[in-house]
C-alpha cells in the first residue's frame, strides 16, 4: 500500500470551506476509515444486522426500518443520559473547541471540529426532537435523517478517539466523547460498526482478552516472560495464574503479555512485584483490563467488565491492582463500580509493603500500578539505580484517559524522575490535561486507517519532535497499551529516532533486585547503559 509521505500529509488547509456542512457529503477514501465488522463477531455478541458490507459500498444493507430504530434509540438515550440531552441543547458554537481536536489539526476537515462532529447529530436532534427544528427546518439548523447522514455519522464518529481534549476547553464542558459514544451506540443498532472494535470485543467476551488468547496461551506467555526475566536478571520470579487466596488480583491489558514494546513493561511488573514480595495472581479469565466495549456501547462496557469483579470474588482476593492502560482505566475509574459494583466483598486496598491505605480507591477497590509504585518509591522500599536508564532521554506522554478521566498526572512523573536521570517535559499546552491523543485510540488503530492515524497523531508527534530536537529525547514513556501499539509507527513516521516504552519498563531497568546478576542488558536485551560501559 503506498502511503502518503509526511511532507505531503502536512500540507493541511484550515481555510474556508466552499460547501455548507448541512449537506451530507462523505467520501470513503482509502486510508481514512476502518473496515466494517465481520458478521461472525456481531453474531457472537448477539448484535443486530450482521451482514457482509463495507463502508465504500453504495448500499449499506440497512434494515428496512433503520430510521425508526435510530430515532427510537435517540429518544431512549435522551431520556437515559442527561449529558446527551444537555449537550444536544446548549452548545453556542463559540468555536473554542475547533482547533483542539487532533483530527482537525491533522486533517483540516471542518467536520472534525468537535463542534461540527456534534452538530452532525444535533441537526438530526433538532429536526425530530425540538419544536423549532420541526417547524423551521434548516433555518433552525435542522436536517432530515437520511442514509447519507448515517454514512457521515459513521465516518466522523469513527474519526474521534473519545480523548475528551475538547471537553477541557468547552465553557459548558460539552464532551464530544459522550456524543461519539452515543453516536456509535446508535450506529450499532443498525449494524454499522467497525471490525477493529468488534473483533476484540467478541474475543474478550469469549476468551477473556481482546487478542483471543486462550488460557494455555496465556500461561505460555507468562511462563515465557518469567524465563526471559531469569535470563536477564538471574532471578526466577513466581507468577501464578488463577490462584485462589492470593492477596491481590493483578489485571493488565492483554497487549502487555503479547505485544512489543508492551512486553518489556510486563517484565518490569514481574520484576517489581517479585522484589517487594507481593502475594498476587493473574487470572486467565480476567486476562484483559482493556475494554473495547467502551468503543461500542455502554451495555458492552458492562458485559466485558463484569469479569473483573466476578473473578476477584471467585479467587477470594482482597483487592485488585491494574496495569498500565488508558481506556481500561477510564472504565475502571468512571464506570466499573457503578455498573458492576458494589465490590463489598473486597477490602479497602492496603499496600502490604508500606501499609498505605489507598483511601481514594476505598469503594472501587482497584489501584493503578503507578499509584502503587509511587507509594513504594516514596516510602523508600525500592533500591533504584536510575543510571541504568541513562541511554534514554525520556519524555512523558499523558495518555488521554488517565489524564482527563482520572487526573493521574504526578504519579507517573514521580516514578520517572526516580528511575531515570534525563527527563524533559513536552510543551505545556500538549501535556497533562491538555495532552494530545496518539490519534489511534477508541478502536481506530488499524492499518487500513493509516493516513488518518498519522494525521490525528501529528500534534502529539510534533510535540515529541520539539523535545527530540531540543533535548535529544529518544524515548517516549507512556501508560497506555494503545499508545504503546500505535505510537511507534506514528513516531517512525513523523519523528524517527524516538522509541516508546511503558513507565514500568524503566522501573524494571532501574530496579536493583536482591541477588540479581549484574545486568548486561536492559529489559529489551540491548547492551546496558553507556555510562556503565565507560566506568567498566
Amino acid at each position: 500500500m503506498s502511503q502518503p509521505k509526511p511532507e505531503q500529509l502536512v500540507q493541511i488547509q484550515y481555510g474556508p470551506q466552499p460547501r455548507d456542512w448541512m449537506d451530507p457529503a462523505v467520501e470513503f477514501r482509502k486510508g481514512t476509515f476502518c473496515y466494517s465488522a465481520l458478521a461472525k463477531n456481531l453474531n457472537y455478541l448477539g448484535l443486530p444486522n450482521a451482514r457482509d458490507w463495507q463502508p465504500f459500498d453504495e448500499d449499506w444493507k440497512l434494515p428496512p426500518d433503520w430510521k425508526r430504530i435510530i430515532l427510537d434509540g435517540m429518544k431512549e438515550r435522551l431520556e437515559k443520559f442527561r449529558s446527551f440531552r444537555l449537550f444536544m441543547d446548549i452548545c453556542v458554537r463559540c468555536g473554542a473547541c475547533a482547533d483542539k481536536c487532533h483530527f482537525f489539526l491533522g486533517s483540516g476537515d471542518p467536520k472534525n471540529m468537535p463542534v461540527l462532529r456534534a452538530e452532525l447529530m444535533r441537526s438530526v436532534y433538532r429536526r425530530y426532537f425540538t419544536l423549532a427544528g420541526r417547524l423551521l427546518g434548516r433555518l433552525a439548523g435542522a436536517r432530515d435523517l437520511t442514509e447519507d447522514v448515517i454514512k457521515e455519522w459513521f465516518y466522523y464518529f469513527y474519526q474521534c478517539t473519545e480523548c475528551r481534549r475538547c471537553s477541557v476547553f468547552c465553557p459548558y464542558g460539552i464532551d464530544t466523547a459522550e456524543i461519539t459514544m452515543i453516536g456509535r451506540e446508535l450506529l450499532n443498532l443498525i449494524g454499522c460498526n467497525i471490525n477493529w472494535v468488534l473483533e476484540p470485543a467478541a474475543n474478550c467476551f469469549r476468551t477473556g482478552n481482546h487478542l483471543g488468547v486462550q488460557p494455555h496461551g496465556f500461561k505460555d506467555s507468562v511462563d515465557f516472560a518469567v524465563d526471559e526475566l531469569e535470563e536477564l536478571t538471574g532471578i526466577r520470579v513466581d507468577a501464578s495464574i488463577n490462584r485462589k487466596g492470593a492477596e491481590v488480583l493483578f489485571i493488565v491489558p492483554s497487549a502487555d503479555y503479547f505485544g512489543t514494546p508492551h512486553y518489556y513493561t510486563f517484565l518490569g511488573y514481574l520484576a517489581l512485584l517479585h522484589e517487594i514480595g507481593l502475594d498476587y495472581t493473574f487470572s486467565a479469565f480476567a486476562s484483559e483490563g482493556g475494554n473495547f466495549g467502551l468503543f461500542n456501547s455502554h451495555e458492552m462496557i458492562k458485559r466485558l467488565n463484569a469479569k473483573v469483579y466476578a473473578e476477584a470474588r471467585r479467587l477470594g482476593v482482597k483487592w485488585i491492582l491494574g496495569g498500565e492502560c488508558g481506556h481500561m482505566w477510564r472504565v475502571l475509574h468512571q464506570y466499573m463500580d457503578t455498573m458492576n459494583g458494589p465490590a463489598d466483598f473486597l477490602e479497602v486496598p492496603v499496600s502490604p509493603v508500606t501499609g498505605t491505605r489507598f483511601e481514594h480507591a476505598r469503594s472501587t477497590k482497584m489501584v493503578h500500578i503507578c499509584e502503587f509504585t509511587a507509594d513504594l518509591i516514596h516510602n523508600g522500599k525500592l533500591r533504584l539505580d536510575p543510571s541504568r536508564n541513562d541511554h534514554w532521554t525520556v519524555t512523558f506522554h499523558d495518555s488521554c484517559n488517565p489524564a482527563r478521566a482520572m487526573g493521574l498526572l504526578e504519579e507517573p512523573r514521580y516514578i520517572l524522575r526516580s528511575v531515570c536521570n534525563r527527563f524533559h517535559e513536552m510543551p505545556e499546552n500538549t501535556i497533562r490535561e491538555q495532552t494530545f491523543c496518539c490519534g489511534s485510540g477508541s478502536g481506530l488503530g488499524t492499518d487500513e486507517n493509516f493516513e488518518m492515524r498519522m494525521r490525528g497523531g501529528l500534534p502529539r508527534a510534533n510535540a515529541v519532535k520539539y523535545v527530540h530536537q531540543r533535548h535529544g529525547v529518544n524515548l517516549l514513556a507512556c501508560i497506555c497499551a494503545i499508545d504503546k501499539a500505535t505510537l511507534p509507527p506514528l513516531l517512525e513516521y513523523w519523528v524517527p529516532g524516538v522509541e516508546v516504552a511503558g513507565v514500568h519498563e524503566l522501573v524494571g531497568n532501574a530496579l536493583v533486585m536482591r541477588g540479581e546478576r549484574p545486568r548486561l542488558t536492559d529489559l529489551r536485551g540491548e547492551p546496558a547503559t553507556q555510562a556503565e560501559a565507560v566506568h567498566a
Binding site: F81, A96, E119, V168, S363
Partner: protein, 331 residues
C-alpha cells in the same frame, strides 16, 4: 452570509414593526400589554419546562472531565479546583466556571508553521469578550430593576453609581453600556472573520447576537440621544407589575422597539442555545467530583446484561486449562 443577513432582517423587522405599531393607538394594548405578559409567560414556562426536562434525564455515570491532579496519595498535592474530590471543591469549580469562565480562559490558538511546527498559543480574546459581555449584561439587567421596583432596590442604585463612576455627561455615561456594545460587536465580527467559526455559525447564532445588539443599541439610543421620559416609563412598567396596566402617556417608537426586542429575546430564549444559561449548571463533566473510586455512583437504570460467566468459560476451555495445569473449579 445569507443566514446572517436573514437574521439581521428579522431583528430589524421586529424593531421597525414595533416602532411603527406604537403610532397606532388601537395597536397599543397589543404592544404594551399582550406582548410583555405573553413573552414573559413563554419565558418562564419555557425555561422551567426545559430545566425540568433536563432534570428528568438521570446522570447514569460520574464522568467529570478532570483537569488536574487527582486526590490519591497523601503526599501528592491534588488540584482542588481542577479535580475536586469533594462538594466544596465542586462548588468552587462551578463558581469559577460560571462567574469567570475558567475553561474558556484556557483557550489556545494553534498554528501550523514550516517544519512542520504545530504551535499552541494562548488566546484570551474570546474569553475576555465573552466575560465582558456576560457581566455587562448582568449588571444592566440588575440596573433595570430601577424601572421595575418601587422603591428602587439599593443594589440597583449602587450598581448605577458604580457604573457611572466616571461621571461623564448627563445622563451620566454608564461603562457597561459601552462595554456591552463593544463586546457584542467583537463577538459578531468573530463570526464573520474567523473562517472556522463562520463555517459553524447557524442562523440562531447571528440572530441571538443581533437581537442582543438591537436591544443594547435601542437602549443606548434611548438613554443618551433620544432621552425618553424615564418617569413615564417607570410608571408604565410598574403598572404592568401590579397587573393594572396603564398605557404609557407618550409612547416613543424607540421605547417600543427596545421593549419588543427584549420581549422577543425572552420568548426566544427557552427554545434556543441561550438556554446554556441554565444548562451550564447541570453539565456532568463539570459538576461532579472526581471521587469515582472513593464513592460509588448509582445509576438508576442499571440493568442486568448478558455476560460470559466463569463457569461457561471454564466449561469451554476445560481441556486447555487442564493441559496447561491451571486450577479449575470443577475438576
Amino acid at each position: 452570509m445569507k443566514t446572517s443577513l436573514s437574521a439581521l432582517s428579522l431583528v430589524l423587522a421586529i424593531a421597525l414593526a414595533a416602532a411603527a405599531a406604537s403610532r397606532f393607538v388601537w395597536l397599543l394594548p397589543l404592544l404594551a400589554v399582550a406582548l410583555p405578559y405573553g413573552t414573559l409567560a413563554i419565558f418562564l414556562a419555557g425555561l422551567s419546562w426545559r430545566v425540568v426536562c433536563w432534570s428528568r434525564s438521570p446522570v447514569p455515570f460520574r464522568i467529570p472531565t478532570v483537569c488536574g491532579q487527582q486526590k490519591s496519595l497523601a503526599w501528592i498535592k491534588s488540584a482542588r479546583l481542577e479535580s475536586p474530590h469533594s462538594t466544596p471543591g465542586v462548588v468552587a469549580r462551578m463558581a469559577l466556571e460560571i462567574l469567570l469562565f475558567r475553561s474558556l480562559f484556557r483557550n489556545t490558538r494553534s498554528r501550523l508553521e514550516d517544519g512542520p511546527r504545530l504551535i499552541q498559543r494562548e488566546a484570551k480574546w474570546l474569553w475576555l469578550g465573552a466575560l465582558a459581555f456576560h457581566w455587562s449584561l448582568l449588571i444592566i439587567l440588575l440596573r433595570h430593576l430601577r424601572f421595575f421596583v418601587e422603591p428602587v432596590p439599593k443594589v440597583a442604585v449602587l450598581l448605577e453609581n458604580l457604573d457611572g463612576f466616571f461621571r461623564i455627561g448627563a445622563p451620566v455615561l454608564l461603562v457597561t453600556d459601552v462595554v456591552v456594545l463593544a463586546a457584542l460587536l467583537y463577538l459578531l465580527q468573530r463570526r464573520f472573520r474567523d473562517p472556522q467559526v463562520r463555517f459553524i455559525s447557524l442562523f440562531t447564532d447571528y440572530f441571538a447576537l443581533l437581537l442582543l445588539l438591537g436591544i443594547a443599541a435601542t437602549g443606548v439610543w434611548m438613554r443618551y440621544f433620544a432621552r425618553v421620559d424615564a418617569v413615564a416609563v417607570k410608571q408604565f412598567v410598574l403598572s404592568l407589575t401590579i397587573f393594572a396596566p396603564a398605557l404609557p402617556k407618550n409612547p416613543g417608537p424607540l421605547f417600543f422597539a427596545h421593549f419588543a426586542l427584549a420581549g422577543t429575546l425572552a420568548a426566544y430564549l427557552p427554545f434556543s442555545k441561550l438556554m446554556h444559561m441554565g444548562g451550564v449548571f447541570l453539565s456532568p463533566t463539570r459538576n461532579l467530583a472526581n471521587n469515582n473510586r472513593r464513592k460509588r455512583h448509582i445509576n438508576p437504570w442499571n440493568y442486568p446484561v448478558k455476560v460470559h460467566t466463569y463457569e461457561e468459560w471454564e466449561a469451554e476451555f476445560r481441556d486447555k486449562l487442564e493441559a496447561a495445569g491451571l486450577p479449575v473449579e470443577r475438576p
